[in-house]
């Protein structure tokens, strides 16, 4: 994903997050839209953009949350980097491969987040296991569907461009 694409994605993620939280107050408990964006950004397998995307997405999350500032930034930087590494080793052309990357990334982010919080603020209670795992499942499914849809749209767009280009050549 290009820097421009990531920026547009971030603005869209913010809009979706704000709107959905207004309509369904429990939305942040169910889906982490910023994580979906970070994983989509890391799926091409490039570690540097994955890392940067993770940092920016995480700090955006931190700006909205009330805990230690930088907690999500740390977890999502690692997740973005890890996603890029894992995506190189899996076949991400298939939906199963993409789902596997999303599940790995979401579980890894949650584990990093909770262990870091437990380490830094020993004694604070962590969410129960079902509530901790729910966003892993929902974000993974949503991310896989979104990746598939974006892929199809991109393919259709490219085909149309190719047809237009070949049409112009035929007329000449």
């Amino acid at each position: 994903m290009s820097a421009k694409g990531f920026t547009i994605g971030l603005v869209l993620a913010l809009l979706v997050h704000f709107t959905a939280t207004r309509l369904v107050p429990d939305f942040p408990r169910l889906v982490d839209v910023f994580l979906v964006l970070v994983v989509l950004n890391g799926l091409p397998g490039k570690t540097l953009p994955g890392m940067w995307g993770g940092l920016v997405g995480g700090l955006t999350c931190d700006a909205l949350s009330g805990g230690l500032f930088g907690l999500y930034g740390f977890a999502n930087t690692l997740t973005g980097y890890g996603t890029a590494l894992v995506a190189r080793r899996l076949v991400t052309q298939r939906a199963v491969g993409v789902l596997a990357v999303f599940v790995f990334a979401a579980a890894f982010q949650r584990a990093t987040l909770f262990s870091l919080d437990w380490f830094l603020q020993a004694g604070t209670a962590l969410p129960s296991l079902p509530w901790a795992l729910l966003p892993v499942a929902t974000s993974s499914v949503l991310g896989t569907i979104l990746h598939g849809t974006l892929g199809r749209l991109q393919k259709r767009f490219q085909e149309r461009r190719w047809r237009r280009a070949s049409g112009h050549q035929g007329k000449r």
Partner: protein
């Protein structure tokens, strides 16, 4: 070679963030400039959504039937009459309290001014519970109590111009000095990881029962005395020393659209300075 460089880059980024995190540790809710700046940037789409939402609500409101408005008007007029009578009774009571206060030379604690603020973003459901509010033309103070007519909402933890981030009382890191209104026994209200409220450190011998109202005690130096926090929903024996008490919050956090920021007449640092032996 590039991968190796990226690896070093990742380590540098992570170490930098760990330093940022550890710098906040003595005061986990202490806002810094970076957080305030991030809040300002991120709040832009929030204000946009809030504006669109109130615009849509305004358009939808115009379609309300005239009959319903008339019925509402009638009900409000009746309520207004009852409230006027209640105000007269309360004014009598206030005068009586003032006379008695003068007699025993008691000075009540000063109450702060209230500033209305729009709720831009409310996250009461996730792991950390926060609220982002916008008070046009005002500059919120850090640690200012945030409340609505029903009760206490939280306190301001980060300020960025007219924007403020509020820590809800249901946040697991929040704690409020509280007391049972009926028996005046004091404890601490804390948020739990499941989003509920609990009243902690209330001794086993203290008198508390389901349905008791719990209000702020004013001893924490942040929240003034007498703001409703919730109602006792469950009392269990707990461990040897203290009750285990679950509270039903006085505020419905799902339906917040406006809140009041109370200006603080006393700063926590001033209170600390006034206490003998404190620096």
């Amino acid at each position: 070679m590039t991968e190796r460089r990226n690896g070093w880059f990742l380590i540098a980024l992570l170490v930098g963030q760990l330093l940022l995190l550890s710098a906040q540790l003595p005061d986990p809710t202490g806002g810094n400039r970076l957080q305030a700046l991030a809040l300002k940037v991120v709040a832009v789409p929030g204000r946009l959504i809030a504006g669109i939402s109130s615009g849509v609500a305004g358009i939808a409101g115009r379609f309300d039937s005239l009959g319903a408005l008339r019925a509402d008007n009638g009900a409000l007029r009746r309520e207004n009459q009852q409230l006027k009578q209640r105000v007269i009774a309360l004014q009598d009571a206030e005068n009586q309290v003032q006379r008695l206060s003068r007699a025993v030379r008691y000075t009540p604690p000063p109450g702060g001014d209230l500033t209305l603020a729009d709720v831009l973003y409310l996250d009461h459901a996730s792991w950390v519970r926060t609220l982002v509010v916008h008070a046009p033309g005002a500059s919120p103070q850090r640690n200012a109590p945030v409340l609505i007519a029903e009760g206490l909402v939280g306190r301001v933890i980060v300020v960025s111009g007219s924007l403020a981030k509020v820590q809800l009382i249901t946040d697991r890191a929040a704690s409020v000095g509280a007391m049972v209104q009926r028996s005046r026994h004091q404890g601490v209200v804390r948020g739990t990881s499941s989003g509920d409220l609990e009243l902690a450190y209330l001794p086993r011998q203290s008198d508390v029962k389901v349905g008791d109202r719990v209000i702020t005690s004013g001893v924490d130096g942040v929240f003034p005395r007498g703001i409703p926090i919730g109602t006792v929903a469950e009392v269990e024996p707990g461990n040897d020393l203290f009750h285990q008490i679950r509270l039903a919050p006085a505020v419905d956090f799902r339906s917040l659209d406006h809140v009041y920021l109370q200006s603080r007449s006393l700063d926590l640092e001033d209170i600390k300075k006034a206490v003998p032996g404190e620096r």
